[in-house]
């Protein structure tokens, strides 16, 4: 029987011991004596969040297909256990073997959002691995980062030995082979990092020096090691059908956020919304073959026993065989008590028809993400959705029996005026008016229109990467403008309005576009006790302010400055395919309120066509 890292008395004292015992269905056990490489794959947040992440499930499956590798999972211990582990000096362990992470060859950390950065330090700290890469010795695991935040890895540069820039399916094999080879040759840690630096897509932060101008912006970013490349090219899988995808993902015992089979139908998005980082990073859009998806749906449901299947992509309605796939899922599984969930669908006749079949209309609500209230603002952000689309979609839904609608918007977008802010409330009211146009005897009581706004954060590799942000006070003031506008609306009793926290927003802003120097703030914030910052109950803004003060880092430099068009950005050494020239052109078009057609309407020459695949070659086949 497996021996656990934690004793019974601890497990019976803490919340949800199932987070720490492993043993889940489809988790992989191997004999540690018969593998060459032990890889600890970490999502630096609590188990329920980490277990819901598709990327780790893909890599876990891919690594464990190799006989010479045993990949295990690690998550952030929750605060109750964190305290006990520090008091009793219990080292952080991987779930499968329950062995200390420090004994592994690699610690891979997926970095999905900025507010998990202190949890990364927690994972390193509890593992007993020096926080700074420069202080690690030969025995320490190689700490490698991946995921969307690594497209600007600089705030984390001090804490990682390597970053993997791009999709994990491509060069991990090479990276692991190089490790084995180096180990067999008796090579050092540095020898390995030099070998890794020569692999496409691998960034070794310690092999680069950064100098700054007097105004604080970057002067130069150059390799200090002959093996390091000047530019790191993003990794991408061109054939997403014949690639890795888990047929038997791990099934948690406790209810996790994503407690279902997740079928990733495509990567990338054709839309080109100017605020959206994923829309640029994952270009070109690549679809999976519908027959493969049908087969996987069947096998994954069979192997997990999940009672729900969900499609995953940035914009499911753009998947060209959507109708065929959804019809198949309904016909094949609906009668077997399997729920089918279809997020990110455009509201039209087809999707309403599908939703009617798979959801309880009385309980479900429809979601629209207009992102901006006025048409002018929507043109600036290149969100193709028009007011007419929204009102027509909502109208059809209301006539079909729905009476709940959710609307998502952003505040603080570039060029936003007070009119644009007020337009959010006005649009919500128009949706409600559309509902009350239906004769009273044919409608289903009152309608409920719930509007949420978040504050826009400029992200690297988007046309808005040059945009300035605002202060907390300004954000709150903008939310107040919207709130007041809601009070002025005719149907205010049917309208609800929520806005997101501004304090988290400004921190995310700093780390999204931060440079190497911001790493000091992270370290200081962690030392001051910041942890689980993405959990509003535990987020402590005052501690963060102290961390900025103690390190002499100025938040305003990162957030409130309008960046000049020729500024050298911390992430400029990464080549995502989409060119900086294209992003500049898009920024300029945004300023003029010009819409850019989507990839299927017309190629705008973003640069992603150099991979000669996906949507870039679709029409030419």
């Amino acid at each position: 029987m497996r021996k656990l890292a934690l004793t019974d008395d601890i497990l019976l004292k803490i919340e949800k011991p199932a987070r720490y015992i492993g043993n889940e269905i489809n988790s992989v056990m191997k004999d540690k004596g018969s593998v060459d490489i032990r890889f600890a794959m970490c999502f630096p947040d609590v188990y329920e969040i980490g277990m819901s992440h598709l990327g780790i499930q893909i890599l876990y499956d891919m690594f464990n297909r190799r006989d010479d590798v045993w990949c295990e999972r690690v998550y952030s211990p929750w605060l109750d256990l964190d305290k006990i582990m520090r008091e009793q000096k219990i080292p952080l362990f991987a779930l499968e073997s329950q062995d200390p992470v420090k004994d592994f060859d690699f610690l891979g950390i997926t970095i999905q959002y900025e507010m998990c950065y202190t949890n990364i330090l927690q994972v390193l700290d509890l593992s007993g691995i020096p926080l700074k890469a420069s202080e690690r010795c030969e025995q320490d695991p190689i700490v490698i980062g991946g995921g969307p935040c690594t497209y600007n890895p600089e705030p984390l540069a001090d804490f990682f030995d390597l970053f993997y820039i791009g999709e994990g399916e491509t060069v991990y094999g090479e990276l692991l082979d190089a490790y084995k080879e180096n180990k067999a040759n008796g090579g050092s840690r540095k020898d390995y990092l030099e070998k890794a630096a020569q692999i496409e897509g691998i960034y070794v932060p310690s092999f680069y020096d950064v100098t700054y101008k007097e105004d604080g912006t970057i002067e130069s970013f150059v390799p200090n090691n002959p093996h390091a490349k000047a530019t790191i090219r993003k990794q991408i899988v061109m054939d997403v059908t014949n690639s890795y995808y888990p047929k038997a993902p791990v099934v948690p015992f406790i209810k996790v956020t994503q407690d279902r089979v997740v079928l990733e139908i495509q990567r990338g998005c054709i839309r080109g919304c100017r605020f959206c980082q994923a829309g640029m990073l994952y270009r070109p859009t690549r679809e999976r073959d519908v027959e493969m998806l049908k087969d996987y749906a069947y096998q994954m449901l069979k192997n997990t026993g999940h009672e729900e299947i969900s499609l995953s992509s940035l914009s499911s309605s753009d998947y060209s065989s959507l109708k065929e796939l959804v019809t198949f899922l309904i016909e094949e599984f609906k009668g077997k008590g399997i729920n089918i969930s279809l997020p990110s669908l455009r509201i039209d006749a087809f999707s309403l028809d599908v939703m009617e079949k798979v959801q309880d209309i009385r309980k479900s609500s429809l979601t629209f993400a207009p992102e901006a209230g006025s048409q002018r603002m929507r043109n600036v952000i290149n969100k193709g959705l028009t007011e007419e689309d929204i009102l027509n979609g909502a109208g059809q839904a209301f006539e079909g029996g729905w009476n709940k609608v959710k609307l998502y918007f952003m505040l603080g977008l570039p060029t936003e005026t007070e009119e644009d802010m007020k337009a959010i409330a006005e649009l919500a009211d128009k949706v409600a008016r559309r509902y009350y146009e239906i004769p009273k005897d044919q409608r289903n009581g009152k309608c409920q229109i719930t509007t949420s706004t978040s504050f826009f954060i400029p992200k690297p590799f988007t046309p808005f990467q040059w945009a300035k942000m605002f202060t907390n006070t300004e954000y709150v003031a903008r939310a107040a403008v919207v709130k007041h506008a809601f009070n002025d609306q005719l149907n205010r009793k049917s309208l609800r309005y929520h806005w997101h926290d501004a304090e988290v927003t400004v921190l995310e802003g700093v780390f999204a576009r931060g440079d190497r120097r911001t790493g000091a703030v992270l370290l200081e914030a962690y030392r001051l006790g910041c942890l689980y910052d993405s959990w509003s109950d535990y987020f402590d803004y005052d501690k963060w302010l102290t961390a900025f003060e103690n390190t002499g880092i100025d938040m305003a430099f990162y957030n409130l400055r309008e960046r000049s068009m020729d500024e050298k950005f911390p992430w400029d050494f990464i080549d995502i395919g989409v060119t900086k020239d294209f992003l500049k052109k898009e920024w300029e078009r945004a300023m003029r309120g010009e819409v850019t057609p989507n990839c299927r309407q017309q190629c705008s020459g973003c640069g992603a066509a150099r991979w000669k695949g996906g949507v870039c070659v679709e029409s030419k086949n």
Partner: protein
Amino acid sequence: MKARIKFRKYGVMKFIGHLDVMRYFQKAMRRADIPIAFTGGYSPHMIMSFAQPLGVGITSEGEYLDIELTEKISSEDAISQMNRVMTEGIDVVSFVEIPDEKKASGMTITAAASYRVYPLESAKTSDIRLPLPGNWTEEIEEFLAQEHITVWKKTKRSEKEVDIKPMIYDMHPDADSIYLFLATGSEQNLKPDLVMDTFLNYTGAEETALHYHRVDVYARNEAGTFVPLSDMGKIIL
């Protein structure tokens, strides 16, 4: 057609709570292709009920759930199909047909449960057991010789004084454990830790770490004697 599944729960699975064990079995039914029936409506759920929840930390060799089947499946096939998709720490040991009536459900008929309680070297692990303290044989006799064994029992609304003695059907030392046979179910329910806490308190050995293991769950048959729930059904051929 209704069936009763008996399973064991041991090892690290003792840390999985009752609700999660239910979720585990719902998924296991699908993986094992058990022809289980669903309720109707937009969110159909499996027709499945557990006889008696088991507390976290307790192991068991006699757990029960009843399910409704849409078609016949032999006991042998059902057991092997399920055990193929189980994780270490849960094994199906029997699968029998039970009468269709509601009053035959495990939840309704449960009347008693038996346990073994092991003294441990420490609360850190249930693997290292200690022999029963030498004086416990007498202590148990004296404990049970009391006219009443009153305890404060917490209910949903208040705390009240209850005499648990009539609910202790049996309590005696047996090799390295104490054997308990307790009233269990919707009418009268006595948990083993309440008995042991009261006993330890009586002997003044409050600090003793214990491991609880459920042996079986019982119903009363027509003759009024206790029989394991699995004996209330018949093997499906």
